[in-house]
Symmetry: C2
């Protein structure tokens, strides 16, 4: 294994992922939670976060976003960092990994062919009525997971869901997991208080504050996002190895699976993320995961400290950290023989071309 990849948990998992033909699926979704000022950096302004998921996948397929003139960057205190979609693009292109997109309810639809799982954008979780139809989303996800298993023996699922760590916090909290101050975020100063207040108001509005732990579907319906039941459904339907490519948002998917499916086995499910999440001092993916099951976590270090690109260097300072399955894409490319150094160099080249 490349020294850039660290495995938290069993070493057996990695051997199961060797010599596979991976398929990368990116699930995109929105909730109007991302419009709350300060809650996310995934967009140059709260309104522009509506465009981020579509722009991310357009960038991977077309080489540039087509839904908006601006390129998605994370802006924090005037410092810009490129979307992690660039890392994903570099990885899957170098390793020739097929890329598909599923829409679980994005506000703006990408100008590419994509799987429709759900059309409806989530509302703000402040309403306590964030997702209208989590069962339907989960069930369609299951069909998709089963179908995709016919085309691959290693399904990697990434996501682009602005404010997704807040909705993940909502779902985890509603199901009775302790995730306060533990979810990650796209900004160096993780706004834990704002996230907590937002979730608490949502739980209050949904009348769930005294009903914790609540049912997973009710949790998503009240304070979640449509990505969570979609990715959970795809994972549940899959007949092959699944890598959930993301940070603490994917722990909400795992917790959902544990609560929704009796005796769900995580033997064929791992999480892959970046070192920026796995070693983050302002969040704790390991603390959350341990409450669910002994789930293996891979963490990839793209070595952006060595980069001359200031935007990528900002990742080391805690800007962005992860998204669009960047960690899992690097892992998958590495399993196909592409060094992480090569991925970093290609990411730098793409940044020059695109931004």
């Amino acid at each position: 294994m490349d020294q850039a990849i660290k495995s938290y948990g069993s070493q057996e998992v990695l051997s199961k992922l060797q010599n596979k033909d991976p398929l990368f699926l990116c699930v995109i979704a929105s909730t109007l939670t991302s419009r709350l000022p300060g809650i996310t950096g995934a967009g140059a302004s709260p309104e522009l976060t509506d465009y981020t998921p579509a722009a991310d996948v357009e960038l991977i397929i077309h080489g540039e976003p087509q839904c908006l003139p601006e390129i998605p960057q994370t802006l924090v205190e005037g410092q810009a960092a490129p979307t992690p979609a660039v890392i994903t693009k570099a990885s899957i292109e170098l390793a020739n990994i097929p890329f598909l997109v599923a829409d679980a309810g994005s506000a703006i639809k990408p100008n590419i062919p994509y799987f429709n799982i759900n059309n409806k954008v989530g509302k703000s979780i402040l309403t306590g009525q964030a997702v209208e139809n989590p069962e339907e989303i989960f069930n369609k996800g299951k069909i998709l997971g089963e179908t995709l298993s016919k085309f691959t023996n290693h399904l990697i699922i990434g996501e682009s869901t602005p404010a997704g760590t807040t909705t993940a916090l909502g779902v985890l909290s509603a199901m009775g997991y302790d995730a306060w101050d533990k979810v990650s975020g796209s900004t160096p100063e993780n706004p834990h208080d704002l996230k907590r207040q937002t979730v608490e108001k949502g739980l209050q509005a949904a009348g769930l504050r005294d009903k914790i732990p609540t049912d997973p579907f009710k949790a998503v319906e009240a304070v979640g996002d449509p990505m969570i039941p979609a990715v959970a459904g795809i994972t549940a339907g899959s007949k092959v190895q699944v890598t959930l490519a993301g940070g603490t948002q994917m722990t909400a998917v795992c917790a959902f699976l544990k609560e929704a499916i009796k005796d769900f086995s995580f033997d064929n499910v791992s999480i892959a993320t970046t070192i920026f999440v796995a070693r983050d001092e302002n969040s704790d993916i390991h603390y959350i995961t341990k409450q669910i099951a002994p789930i293996n976590i891979f963490a990839v270090d793209p070595g952006f400290g060595k980069s001359e690109n200031l935007g990528l260097k900002n990742y080391v300072k805690g800007v962005v950290k992860e998204g669009v399955g960047a960690g899992g894409a690097m892992l998958a490319a590495n399993l196909k023989g592409v060094s992480v150094d090569k991925i970093r160099i290609r990411t730098e080249e793409l940044c020059k071309e695109i931004f």
Copy 2:
């Protein structure tokens, strides 16, 4: 080769299709042309033709249509025949062929995960403005075809588009092909006069009557349906063998490809249909195809004459004939070693279970 399969053209093509891992994609679309009374049998009433594409693919995935309480049947003078989706379902299930759906603009959306290529339903071709965005549909189709080539080495593309032979006639005529009285239809008494009048009014409304042959995109825009540029795009993007699974509608796709892409080669493209189309006395797929290129046509005889199911027996009388890629699905299953007799028996069983 099973004696139930007849090949019109080169025998070489069949050898190219041996030992493949096929993938079946069904493209669904609507135009309000199907609301014209008498123009199609693909629905119990003109209004219900809106539901036929979604119901067809739901039947394949869920075992029953979910978008409407009634099961799609073709009703002609009180005689019912089951949708050809049943043949497709029997074939792909017996041969374990993966099944995907792409929406090119269906009026009712199916309750399954499907590829979104285009959302917008086509208008009636009487308006002369049937399809708003054929280039966009074609371009998205190309991306999809390229992507799907990574998962298969034999892409079979079927369609469900009510009144699709009328829109095919429109596109063929606008591009200067002689197809009057030659397109097939889902009823024994093919309403050629109504189809011709409808197309002529559409060409008139579009101001194209004196501008034939016209550009393929303009032809679709005026008097076509969204399935045609979608399937043409997918075929153009494909890097692998393509079988266009359908009757005379697929000749419109071939003609579109010839006109839209300079020096387009049909070496890797065949048409597969049923014997009910290939030997139809009220239409002539061979006459149309010869104007385009020496395209190989496979025709499969499901042997419904022997069936005790009256609905299937009606196929022999010219009801339904083809649709949802039934001919191509049988061919693909047969290439994987499933006899056409076995497909017929399973189709009969499914009819008992479903209807």
